[in-house]
């Protein structure tokens, strides 16, 4: 492995010059640059990042950290999509992403070891009590969250504008004549869930409607189906169910189908996440589209601001998009007008 010394010798310059050719930190004469680059290519040289990190005090590595809860990373496509967004954005700036294992914190060993390496950490959907997060703050690692950390509002974040999403959704539901909404939500442990709840209460209150929420702990199993079935067979049946994830909404569709309930005539169904599932379900699902790649991009931007002196470290809200499909469209635009 060639070092900066080898390149300097081959190019007939000092290591300082080679260093500056690579860092761009000061001007180097064009022909000198050419000579250095050629020597570097000949020797197959590239700067050792660990040496650079030691000299600068910056590793150029960011950590990323997903909810520990039941390996959500691979059950909800939102997270891998976010990870890609983060990784792409960071890559463009020369930063890399280290995935922080969920086990961190239980396993005392790797904890300090790995964290010492990081320039900062991005946390997706932080739970209040996650032991890892406490560790980051103690070492005062720069932290950005995707979704807000409810107990520490001072930490810069990016987030989806769920509030606006529900505002728009209710306008749509008004148009479609739905009047007995029900929110199928998870008991709030992250900001998303409490945002949705609050916005739901706000919108229903504004319309004089009851803001009925059913809490449903389990996102992905048979349980959601059972809960949905119970809701649909009980006395006071809602005419539209808003589910906090697309997969929950699919369970509702299924339960309704099994009970012979017509969708969207007797029951509207709305999901959130706009996964592949939503477009291809029967009937296609009205859903709220989020943009994890955009979130990733902004989160990295915020992090870099923080690392580079922290000028504009303002948090950012990302617009979402209501995608209307058959599951709530009982009056087409054509018929509605006159």
């Amino acid at each position: 492995m060639a070092s900066i010394y080898d390149v300097a010798a081959a190019a007939g310059v000092s290591i300082t010059t080679v260093s500056h050719v690579y860092s761009g930190n000061r001007h180097v004469a064009a022909d000198t640059v050419a000579r250095v680059m050629e020597a570097a290519k000949d020797l197959d040289y590239s700067p050792r990042l660990s040496a650079r990190a030691l000299a600068t005090g910056r590793s150029m590595i960011l950590g990323v950290c997903f909810p520990a809860e039941s390996s959500l990373l691979h059950r909800n496509p939102y997270f891998p999509a976010l990870l890609e967004g983060l990784s792409a954005a960071a890559g463009k700036q020369g930063y890399g992403f280290l995935l922080i294992p969920n086990a961190l914190g239980e396993d005392g060993v790797s904890q300090g070891e790995l964290l010492g390496q990081l320039d900062g950490v991005i946390i997706a959907d932080p739970a209040e009590d996650d032991v890892r997060l406490a560790a980051f703050l103690e070492r005062d690692l720069p932290v950005i969250t995707v979704g807000r950390w409810m107990s520490r509002q001072d930490i810069p974040w990016v987030d989806n504008d769920h509030s606006k999403a529900l505002e728009n959704l209710f306008i749509h539901l008004d148009e479609q004549g739905y009047e007995r909404p029900l929110l199928l939500n998870k008991r709030p442990t992250i900001s998303y869930e409490s945002d949705v709840e609050q916005a739901f209460q706000r919108e229903t209150a504004a319309r004089g409607l009851p803001g009925r929420t059913v809490w449903c702990e389990d996102f992905f199993s048979q349980k959601t189906y059972d809960v949905a079935r119970e809701i649909l067979t009980a006395g006071d049946r809602p005419d539209v169910i808003i589910a906090s994830t697309d997969s929950q909404a699919l369970s509702v569709l299924q339960a309704a189908s099994d009970l012979g309930i017509d969708i969207p005539g007797e029951l509207g169904v709305v999901g959130e996440g706009e996964t592949v599932l939503a477009a291809s379900s029967i009937p296609p699902l009205t859903s709220i589209r989020v943009f994890p790649d955009k979130l990733g991009d902004l989160a990295v931007g915020l992090m870099l601001d923080l690392l580079n002196g922290g000028g504009g470290e303002r948090s950012k809200l990302v617009p979402v998009e209501l995608v209307v499909r058959a599951s709530t469209e009982r009056r087409s635009g054509m018929e509605a007008s006159p």
Copy 2:
């Protein structure tokens, strides 16, 4: 930030001793260890990994690399699950995982920079022509693949035993009396797809059945549905369709349902991947379960072997499991016996 010098001074020992307390590379007297650890805790010290990396020539960071094709990472839950397996296994050994952005290679900038940092790279489902892979081998970075690299069989790999999976599947299909199988597969660009094709041909040939394969480029869109519909309405209708992913299989289920074809009576359907979808579809889907966490574990093990002198760098095949559900179960075990 405290350094090894601060700790040594506070504990009244040399930096060598502190170093050895942390590395475990030589014995240190128990009370000395205690003194050092206390000083370290007081000073909130943890070794700077970049310094360690510079001194040892090892970064303790592995790269991981997923198929570039249309961001498969977030469309197929297999990949995030694998990533978690890798990350957990690596974490236990003090290694971290850097996600290599898909853009790498197009963007010349970050290429050398990031790669210089890595001790090795694990590649999931390598495509033959991926430019990134060429780059790794040129720099002779140690490489392990998950799924085999078809053009370079010399590279150590871990893989699912798809061949055995199809063997078992066909035994099951025999029992259920299926006789006109059709394979819905993707044109082979990775070893998985060609393994499945080969095993399918082998099993059908052994039974004197036609080995009919339909190639279907698009895994997740409407297209699969259309292809399935075409297959089911054409003259020579299969009595069982084996799909190369669960989501493909779901499209088949849907098409069959729309056409009023009874499952599993008139048509059996089999998926692969054993995602959450399989268990909750209507009817529940017979599928081949893979164990990405296990693969991740073994891949990391192989990588460490390679890094530590490369003793037992033998590749490994991981058993998979046939999960029989209603979509192929037309004769229950009860009825079948007499």
